[in-house]
């Protein structure tokens, strides 16, 4: 229920000096497909990669604003797979889990323009994300002594996993087992968003039925908005599914 529904036009009390630092950290890995198909596919009269950059430019300020509120305990790592192989796009752009490395607080998340090209080394990208979030969790616990919540991975793709040369690969089957083990121990949530071109059966194996969301069109703005929902603290698969079914 919204504030206005409860209290009408009554004003809430003035600003209070609340503690805004956090003793908790949560890690969110955002994995973005930047393979050649993102340059070839068209949406809204432009290449999908250009549309993605446009929507990211609108989405990032929302993330940074939330980073001063409910996402203040979230650190992002953004990994692309496609142009340039598997690349870290956030922080110092190096695959480092140390401070001032690949992880960036939500309040400071920025990204340069993404380029599309090459194959779809999705498996290597997810493996890297899993390794980095685990290394970051250990670092934050051991060095900063802070409490760490379970990590989340958000995967956005329009393709199927390939090797670095663009050849289909079965490596995703090994990854699916790794992801399933992480889910079963409650240590990881993976939200996978597929847009046209995606291989549904592979994504269902990777993300599980409840973690896979298949969009019927190349609506990248909607994907990013759903990704933001999936980043929130008290949000699980059901909540994202409700938003997805509502056409959010």
């Amino acid at each position: 229920m919204q504030f206005e529904e409860i209290f009408g036009d009554d004003e809430e009390p003035d600003e209070f000096d609340f503690v805004i630092d956090t003793h908790r950290r949560r890690f969110v890995g955002l994995l973005i497909d930047t393979s050649r198909s993102m340059a070839l596919a068209q949406t809204g009269g432009m290449a999908a990669i250009d549309a993605l950059n446009l929507h990211l430019a609108e989405w990032l300020p929302k993330v940074r604003a939330e980073g001063r509120g409910q996402l203040r305990d979230v650190e992002f790592v953004v990994i692309t797979f496609g142009a340039g192989g598997v690349a870290v796009a956030s922080g110092n752009r190096k695959p480092s889990a140390r401070d001032d490395g690949a992880f960036v607080p939500a309040a400071r998340l920025t990204l340069g323009p993404l380029e599309a090209g090459g194959a779809t080394p999705m498996v290597e990208a997810v493996d890297l994300a899993l390794d980095l979030v685990e290394q970051r969790r250990r670092h934050v616990q051991e060095v900063h002594g802070q409490q760490c919540g379970g990590p989340r991975l958000i995967l956005i793709t329009d393709g199927e996993p390939t090797d670095f040369e663009g050849n289909p690969t079965d490596e995703w089957r090994r990854l699916a087992v790794r992801l399933q083990q992480s889910r079963e121990t409650g240590r990881l949530m993976l939200f996978a968003f597929g847009v046209p071109g995606v291989k549904d059966d592979v994504m269902r194996e990777l993300a599980g039925e409840e973690g896979y969301f298949r969009l019927q069109d190349l609506d990248l703005k909607r994907v990013l908005d759903l990704a933001l929902v999936a980043t929130a603290e008290h949000v699980g698969y059901r909540r994202v599914a409700d938003k997805f079914e509502d056409g959010f």
Binding site: M1, F7, E11, I20, H23, Q70, Q147, C148, G149
Partner: protein
């Protein structure tokens, strides 16, 4: 001099529960009899099928259990307070267990935290299961984090001890606080914005308590509800939140900076 207590209670449903069209899973109850304050606050576990029922049940039982024990009047010495809070805590756990069985529910379905505070004069006694917190204020406005949330080191966020089967049997403390002028009792939905941490260790009550206690002097009984449901708090937590502010007339007039 034994003062009377002025109490302001506030609560708001967290965004996650509101979006799911579920109500708050927090519950609270407040009693004052002849200068003895009894407050019970509970936070039903979101993971439990009927956490809200468990929270409502336990605050009702807490009032029943501790009101019985206080019938002969509040203890006068530390030993009496220790006996009261120990006996009451044990009895509350037992009654909750029996009530859960009577409701034919799996006990875990009713999982909840609970924080019970008794105060009379300078004496404060606390029984707590889970991650609630209690802050005391003295006549000079100094704050004391009387019951801190458990140290978060190595603990998953949101994980805590719960009734009906707390592994630690619940935390119990008795304190004599000369100059006690106020108490704040809250659920974990507020701890991240009201308690200051050093790494994952809670160390002190945050500065906001100064103004929060001042709300008890307002004529507006909904001021705290509005604050907890308002944009500033909702921007910092998505969880259910409950806060009880109690100010003793014995110490209130001397607190600097309030009128």
């Amino acid at each position: 001099m034994i003062g009377r207590w002025t109490v302001l209670a506030g609560s708001a449903t967290g965004g996650a529960h509101a979006r799911a069209a579920a109500g708050s899973q927090d519950a609270h109850a407040v009693r004052e009899t002849n200068g003895t304050l009894l407050v019970a606050v509970a936070d039903g576990a979101s993971s439990a099928a009927c956490g809200a029922v468990g929270a409502t049940l336990v605050v009702g039982l807490a009032v029943q259990v501790f009101a019985e024990l206080l019938r002969a009047g509040p203890p006068r010495h530390a030993h009496g307070w220790t006996t009261l809070i120990t006996t009451g805590g044990d009895r509350l756990i037992r009654r909750f267990d029996q009530a859960a069985a009577a409701l034919s529910r799996a006990k875990a379905d009713l999982a909840t935290t609970v924080t019970v505070v008794l105060a009379h004069g300078a004496w404060v006694a606390v029984f707590a299961v889970g991650d609630g917190f209690v802050v005391a204020r003295d006549r000079g406005g100094e704050l004391d984090l009387l019951l801190a949330p458990p140290d978060a080191t190595g603990r998953e966020p949101g994980r805590t001890e719960l009734l009906p089967s707390p592994r630690d049997g619940g935390r119990r403390l008795v304190a004599n606080l000369p100059g006690l002028s106020g108490l704040a009792i809250g659920t974990d939905g507020l701890e991240s914005m009201l308690i200051e941490y050093d790494r994952s260790r809670p160390v002190r009550a945050g500065a906001a308590f100064g103004r929060l206690f001042a709300l008890t002097g307002d004529d507006d009984p909904a001021a705290l509800d509005r604050l907890l449901a308002g944009r500033q708090v909702a921007g910092l937590t998505d969880d259910d939140r409950t806060l009880i502010l109690a100010v003793s007339s014995a110490g209130e007039s001397a607190v600097p900076g309030e009128s």
